[in-house]
């Protein structure tokens, strides 16, 4: 098989898990407190255009990924700079997600184990799957997504008795200010990051339905994030939710069924690990593709291990403590990621539209 291809369903699943990624651990739109759900809804609405840009680009250049499109649109030099930027973004994003996971493990699950150990394990798994290629990633994601769904549903049924639906009130207690803040944060944190997937979705079978793949992926993914947010809010309430680092973990820790099923937060970690694993793998794949493109390598597989280890070390040295991480995620990240998520995509789209039109006219003439 010359070119590795995944099916539309697999691409959609990767996208869903990508969105769930570290959001499952950290929660999204936390600044909006009780109205986080509103912030997530708004962020979803805002990210629809980004997803449409991504789908349009993929449809304009069938069979090519983000890096090929960069080269075609911006020319050799500027195209390479653009590739370099996205490679950095992919590596950094992977490191951020890995660090989220590491912090989670250190502060909640295994306080006495050095953070590097669980991070190395996850990184090793990601390197392993990326070496196998996107087909294996797609198929694994398909199976693991079902496992995630089963876990979420089972946990939901166990937590139902702990839910207090009054927790959603009062709506708009703090006014629109925090909601907008939360919405922008949620927009940049999980949703608009999906533009990076353009780099690995170049070879989707029956590529005509890119809009459907990406839009459905976005909607299902944000639906799940929304659902988890509601669950945590109903269980924990506003006060607790703003006082824990990892709301999902805290929420599920409250389960107690007949003194037999209790303290099952370990099972939630299944979902965490799967989502984080998929997200880092997708980023690592994107980074490796980009490096291979940048240096004209025959196969991206030769750089996977190095890049993966680089991601691990970067993740290990990103912050000094968990407060710094939260500060970066909620205050800085939006501005940092804005060029990658909005500006360059828009430039790319405009350039691509002009190029393709001109090409068509030249062909017709």
């Amino acid at each position: 098989m010359s070119k590795e291809r995944i099916t539309a369903g697999e691409a959609r699943t990767i996208m869903i898990l990508f969105i769930m990624g570290s959001t499952m651990i950290m929660g999204a739109g936390g600044q909006a407190h009780t109205d986080a759900w509103l912030a997530i809804l708004m962020a979803t609405g805002m990210s629809v255009p980004i997803v449409l840009i991504s789908a349009r680009l993929l449809a304009l250049y069938p069979g090519q990924n983000l890096y090929d499109i960069c080269l075609q649109v911006f020319g050799k030099l500027a195209g390479r700079v653009c590739i370099l930027l996205y490679v950095w973004y992919a590596i950094h994003l992977a490191a951020l997600v890995l660090r989220n996971y590491g912090e989670f493990m250190e502060s909640e699950a295994m306080p006495e184990t050095p953070m590097l150990v669980p991070m190395l394990f996850v990184a090793a798994l990601c390197i392993f799957v990326v070496l196998h290629g996107i087909e294996t990633l797609g198929r694994s994601a398909r199976l693991m997504f079902n496992v995630c769904m089963i876990t979420i549903i089972v946990v939901l049924s166990l937590t139902l008795e702990r839910m207090d639906f009054e927790n959603i009130l009062p709506v708009l207690d703090y006014g629109w200010g925090p909601i907008w803040k939360g919405a922008f944060s949620a927009f940049s944190f999980p949703f608009a990051e999906t533009f990076l997937l353009t780099a690995i979705f170049g070879g989707v079978k029956d590529g005509k339905s890119y809009v459907r793949i990406l839009l459905y992926g976005l909607l299902i993914g944000s639906g799940l994030v929304l659902f988890i947010t509601f669950r945590n809010l109903f269980i924990l309430g506003n006060y607790t939710m703003s006082n824990v680092y990892f709301p999902s973990y805290a929420a599920v820790g409250r389960v107690n069924v007949g003194d037999f099923i209790q303290r099952i937060e370990g099972t939630v970690a299944i979902v965490f690990v799967i989502c984080v694993f998929t997200k880092i793998s997708a980023c690592l794949l994107a980074a490796s593709y980009g490096i291979a493109k940048l240096f004209g390598l025959h196969s991206y597989r030769t750089v996977v291990i190095q890049t993966g280890l680089l991601v691990t070390y970067l993740a290990y040295s990103l912050y000094d403590n968990i407060m710094e991480m939260l500060h970066f995620a909620s205050e800085v990240y939006f501005f940092y990621a804005f060029p990658f998520q909005v500006i360059i995509p828009i430039l790319l789209l405009i350039g691509a539209e002009i190029k393709v039109r001109r090409g068509n006219r030249a062909n017709a003439g």
Partner: protein, 492 residues
């Protein structure tokens, strides 16, 4: 090995030639004959004792020759032609002058007929050796369904398949493998449903093989695999003709090896470990239930020790307090740490299993008695191991036996997961499972993804995988050919 290319004209020279080729081999039998009436009609029959049917040899070859009466009409016809056309009462005849071919046929149980003055030999198909009767297969028993199993004879095995698929669509291709053993290997498939690409690939791989001795299909199974570094089989084997018939009707290819009662089928998918032919013959609720049990059993077989160790040593909070206390009480004054205890007990179980397989039946009793002591109440009473560990090892052992064919994979996976969970608790176990999923998803069997349809929850994909849906519930033809269409789709 031979510098001689053909036979000599003289009988005595030829006999000497064969004596030179097989020096001191007293199973090579020479029978010279001389027609009582016609002086010029003399020759020699050569065969190997034990490989031919003596009844055919004496009653249908030798007797007609000696009783032959010449007449006016037959006088001018050469003797060889007479023999071939009229005298010998055996259907399979061939004239050959190539010494290599002659030797091969002789070793394969044919009888050679040499005539004085002729440099060619008549090869007479007199094969007749002792072989096992068709019996119930030992490794794949079933309560309902056919009880025939393959034997060591290739021809018998082919007849067992052909009797189930009576169609001219059933194609059979022969080839020979093994430079010394000259083992007959046979491909068997249904032409209208086989994927030509897979057939081509299989033929290519078989042709490419350089092998000196092919004794059993197990050797072939390992040599034609896609990826060699995995405990999971990507080429299937079975002893049941009905299973092979079902599989070739689904578009798979069967590879039969002479001398082996195990028939290989390719491509082999992960799900086939769990599909047993009995599922299709019994009630579909029961069949589906048994299949689910097999999935559950495999999960338990690889996971129970790992999860137990993780729960006891790392994630105690997930266990109910009462249970945790009773386990702690049982572990009181047991010398080894839980992980080491688990490894030791699993190894002991594997040793007992291996001993039980190899032991002569007359002293089999001893193993069960000793086994009950080591893995039982006596060991617990002596405070060598804890009682929960005996239960864990017992569950592991019995569930491994649910899918006997997966044994290699189960054992290696179990020890891997156990090591990981002894290192990082449930998280280590989870990492192990994800790694396993990646490994399985990356495997291919003749270009077909090994985990095809696993992970999909579409109705058409789980009809014959997760469950066994009733025969009437689906259009009769599409049901069994689901797999065929899927395989074709991905190898297109």
């Amino acid at each position: 090995m031979l510098n001689q290319e053909s036979l000599y004209p003289s009988i005595n020279d030829n006999i000497e030639l064969f004596m030179r080729i097989f020096p001191g081999d007293s199973t090579i039998k020479f029978r010279k004959f001389q027609h009582p009436l016609v002086k010029s009609f003399s020759g020699c029959l050569i065969h190997i004792e034990g490989m031919v049917s003596t009844e055919t040899l004496s009653n249908h070859i030798l007797r007609p020759i000696l009783h032959f009466r010449t007449s006016e009409e037959t006088r001018d016809i050469p003797f060889m032609e007479l023999l071939m056309e009229g005298i010998i009462e055996v259907s399979e005849l061939k004239l050959s002058g190539d010494l290599n071919e002659i030797l091969n046929e002789l070793l394969n149980g044919s009888t050679l007929l040499l005539l004085e003055g002729k440099e060619q030999a008549l090869l007479i198909g007199t094969q007749g050796w002792q072989s096992r009767a068709v019996m119930e297969p030992g490794t794949e028993k079933s309560v309902i369904g056919p009880r025939e199993g393959f034997t060591e004879s290739l021809i018998t095995n082919l007849s067992l398949i052909r009797r189930r698929v009576k169609s001219p669509d059933l194609k059979i291709e022969f080839m020979e493998l093994g430079e010394t053993t000259h083992t007959a290997v046979c491909l068997c498939y249904v032409e209208s449903s086989v994927s030509p690409k897979i057939l081509q690939e299989l033929t290519k791989r078989l042709k490419r093989l350089k092998i000196n001795a092919l004794i059993d299909s197990g050797q072939l199974q390992e040599m034609i695999r896609d990826q060699t570094l995995t405990p999971f089989e990507t080429v299937g084997n079975t002893e049941r003709p009905d299973a092979v018939a079902g599989k070739i009707l689904e578009g798979r290819i069967a590879v039969l090896v002479d001398g082996s009662p195990f028939v290989l089928t390719v491509p082999f998918l992960f799900i086939e470990y769990f599909q047993v032919s009995e599922d299709y013959y019994s009630n579909y609720f029961f069949g589906s239930f048994n299949r689910l049990m097999r999935f559950l059993g495999e999960f338990l077989a690889v996971s129970v020790p790992a999860i137990y160790v993780a729960l006891v040593t790392y994630n105690q909070e997930m266990m109910p307090t009462a249970l945790l206390l009773s386990i702690a009480a049982a572990r009181n004054s047991v010398p080894l740490p839980t992980v080491a205890e688990c490894f030791v007990m699993l190894l002991v179980f594997e040793i007992l299993r291996e001993a039980g397989t190899r032991i002569p039946t007359s002293i089999g009793q001893a193993v069960s008695i000793v086994g009950a002591l080591v893995l039982g109440q006596a060991a617990v009473d002596a405070r060598v191991v804890s009682a929960p560990m005996v239960i864990v090892v017992g569950i592991t052992g019995i569930t491994t036996l649910l899918n006997v064919k997966m044994k290699a994979a189960s054992i290696s996976t179990r020890f891997l997961l156990l090591s990981l969970s002894s290192f990082m608790g449930l998280y280590g176990y989870l990492f192990g499972i994800i790694g396993l999923v990646i490994h399985l998803m990356g495997l291919r069997s003749f270009g077909v993804p090994y985990m095809l349809t696993v992970g999909s929850i579409k109705e058409t994909d789980i009809k014959d995988t997760l469950f066994r849906s009733p025969w009437w519930g689906t259009k009769l033809r599409t049901h069994r050919t689901q797999a065929e269409r899927r395989i074709r789709k991905v190898t297109r």
